[in-house]
Amino acid sequence: MTVESLYTADGMKMVCGGDGSKQIDGVYCCDMLSVAMSKAPAGSCWVTVVCNLNTLAVASLTDCACVIIAGGVLVGDDVKAKAEAEGIALFSSEEPVFETALKVHGMLGA
């Protein structure tokens, strides 16, 4: 599945489209940045409630396919602008981390 599939996915709000042709290989959940830094697999869809510029720095250093800010956490304009500047696909979801991850996981299997 590619990032583009999330553009119109139910419950997913697109903040920044990034590279829609990027392949999503799996889902990764973590809210501690330095844990994600060493454990997030390249090509993963990272689901987290931590939303600040450092989230994007970690996503870019680990080569995540995209980031979903879950739990209805507000995505600030600074984060949106940075995602656009760096071309990082960024979404937000009102649902909690687990439900959001489960949804993407389900889409991957479909």
Binding site: M32, N52, S60, L61
Partner: protein, 140 residues
Amino acid sequence: MSEVKLSYTISGDDFTRAGEASGDVKSKLKVLGVSPDIVRKVSIALYEGEINMVIHAHGGTIDVIISEKDITMVLADKGPGIENVELAMQAGYSTASENVRALGFGAGMGLPNMKKYSDEMKIDTRLGEGTTVTMKVLLQ
């Protein structure tokens, strides 16, 4: 390739700019044609060190020296120093404040990551004077 040196001043407690130096090093290494694996190691090790300087030591300086055989990163700060380096190196040990924990820091994994992603790492620290972390990543 002759030696290339990059230098940065990192301002303290400015989270919005934290990570800019490592981001810049990352893009410069790419331009220099350094392999993606090495770029990743250097970027991660440097990012963790840069963040530590910002959240624990009110900023400092970063020098990155790229030679034919390795990349050396020197991160120097005039912060509080580290009381027990062995303890600080343990996965999960953190003195991060509630403020920075709310930003996703404080897992106590930064120093272990720096050790893991560099080929050599040395910490010189003096209480009340500061800390200098030197990391080396080999190019082959």
